[in-house]
């Protein structure tokens, strides 16, 4: 780095490091036992959150990785370690799941509760894949509290068809489902943050 660049940097924000794709072999470094089980299956209150990752031709993406980060069932933000090595009875709030050959991801977790009354509950979500050069950020909202969803600033700023790409469905008890479409019809809303 030149001296002049160094001087500039004293007063200016540093240039952030650029993204690169996770590539096809991320399993080597990122997949670990229990990564998709934020709680053990059978834990009281446990739900399955699943769905497919689809490309621009609605074909499954079999080499994507989804990460979720969430509040617990009381709306608290988890501050406990134990994400890479789960601790029974503890909830760290973070999960990671590679997609299977048919593009499915599936987490076992607790339902997030809103951080404050009147706000909708959601999962913060990151999407990575071979062929995807940078992380994509999105949300998965629980579908239940229509008043809270209507009042949500993000959802309120979207037309109905786009809004629908952020709200999950409930195929049955204890089951939340949400597909993520990287491109094309029903393309998921991906976010930039102010």
């Amino acid at each position: 780095m030149s001296e002049s660049l160094k001087e500039q940097r004293v007063n200016q924000p540093l240039l952030p490091t650029a993204d690169q794709t996770v590539g096809p072999f991320f399993r080597v470094g990122l997949v670990y036992p229990g990564d998709r089980e934020l709680v053990a299956p059978g834990t009281p209150g446990a739900i399955v959150l699943d769905g497919r990752v689809l490309d621009g031709e609605s074909e499954p993406v079999p080499d994507a990785m989804i990460e979720i980060w969430q509040t617990d069932e009381t709306g608290a933000i988890p501050r406990e370690s134990g994400t890479r090595r789960r601790r029974p009875g503890s909830f760290s709030g973070f999960g990671r799941c590679e997609t299977d050959p048919e593009g499915w991801y599936a987490f076992t977790t607790l339902e997030p509760a809103p951080v404050r009354a009147g706000a909708p509950a959601f999962f913060a979500v990151h999407v990575f894949a071979r062929g995807l050069l940078a992380v994509l950020q999105t949300r998965i909202y629980l579908p239940d509290d229509e008043a809270a969803l209507t009042a949500d600033p993000l959802l309120a700023s979207l037309p109905a068809d786009r809004r629908a790409t952020l709200v999950a469905t409930r195929p049955g008890p204890g089951h939340v489902r949400h597909d993520i479409r990287l491109q094309g019809d029903g393309e998921t809303v991906f976010l930039a943050f102010r």
Binding site: R9, Q12, P13, L14, L15, P16, T17, A18, D19, Q20, T21, V22, G23, P24, F25, F26, R27, V28, G29, L30, D55, G56, E59, V61, E67, W69, Q70, I77, P78, S81, G82, T83, R84, R85, S92, V115, A119, F122, A124, H126, G131, L132, L133, A134, V135, L136, Q137, L154, S157, R162, L182, Q183, E187, T188, V189, F190, L191, A192, F193, R194
Partner: protein, 265 residues
């Protein structure tokens, strides 16, 4: 569309490096048309990287305010990552083959402040350019003494340090005679979930970088330079290992980093 290359051979009609290089040259320095896509970031819509064609969003990112959960990050601790896991050379009963190297650096936010206690995960090919992965079909030897994965937590200065061996370049099937420059994959958490970063660290002087459509997908030259580690002789240990230094800079806001004086929209 691109067909997979026949094992070890070339198929007629497949794209050549010259054609890919021409596409790279045509797109060089062109930023994203998405007003919410920060200019330092790799483009997701980057056809020279063929796998990206059906996997990039076509709509602009939607600008929104982060909620509380997005301004926090998972808490990682010593339970999650043992001290020994930053040494990729001692994961087995014997020593891996290759050029032993240290990579050290700091995890910083956009103001240069250390990001402490955060998780850094790395993975890489072995010295022959082969990953320990069932879908890696490169006919190069696996090394029984190298898994190619490591992790660590940053210290109070934001510092991390890995001991590993230098990864080899390897062929892939983006086009005929496509080779990835040598690199180490890095996965990094910041203090906010919005700072999450997955990237690759490259080595100075690698002749494959100008040819590589993954590396070249970053339109900004300074941002491309930012992925190249510095060789640091002071970090090199006599009769032991070469030293490379690489700092990782996160941002709390992908939108506003270039315009710090301006107020939000």
């Amino acid at each position: 569309m691109l067909a997979p290359c026949a094992e070890g051979g070339q198929r007629e009609g497949m794209t050549t490096q010259a054609e890919i290089s021409a596409e790279i040259a045509q797109l060089h320095g062109k930023p994203s048309t998405d007003p919410n896509w920060a200019p330092h970031r790799a483009l997701t819509d980057y056809a020279p990287y063929r796998s990206s064609i059906l996997r990039h969003p076509t709509k602009d990112l939607h600008l929104t305010d982060p909620e509380t959960i997005e301004l926090t990050s998972p808490a990682f601790g010593r339970r999650d990552v043992g001290e020994a896991e930053s040494d990729l050379t001692t994961m087995s009963t014997g020593e891996p083959l290759g050029e032993r190297m240290v990579v050290e650096g700091r995890l910083l936010d956009g103001e240069g402040r250390p990001v402490r206690g955060q998780l850094i995960e790395v993975w890489q090919a072995n010295s022959a350019g082969r990953y320990r992965h069932k879908r890696d079909r490169h006919p190069a030897p696996l090394d029984p003494h190298f898994t190619g994965a490591g992790r660590t937590l940053t210290d109070d200065d934001g510092r991390y340090r890995f001991l590993t061996i230098k990864p080899g370049p390897y062929p892939w099937r983006n086009h005929v005679n496509a080779w990835r420059p040598a690199h180490i994959h890095f996965s990094v958490f910041g203090d906010a979930f919005t700072q999450r970063l997955v990237t690759q660290m490259y080595f100075p002087g690698d002749p494959l970088m100008p040819l590589d459509p993954i590396y070249q997908a970053i339109p900004d030259e300074r941002a491309r330079d930012g992925l190249i580690a510095d060789y640091d002789h002071d970090l090199t240990s006599p009769e032991w290992a070469l030293g490379y230094r690489w700092d990782i800079i996160l941002t709390g806001s992908r939108k506003t980093w270039t315009e710090p004086e301006e107020s939000d929209e």
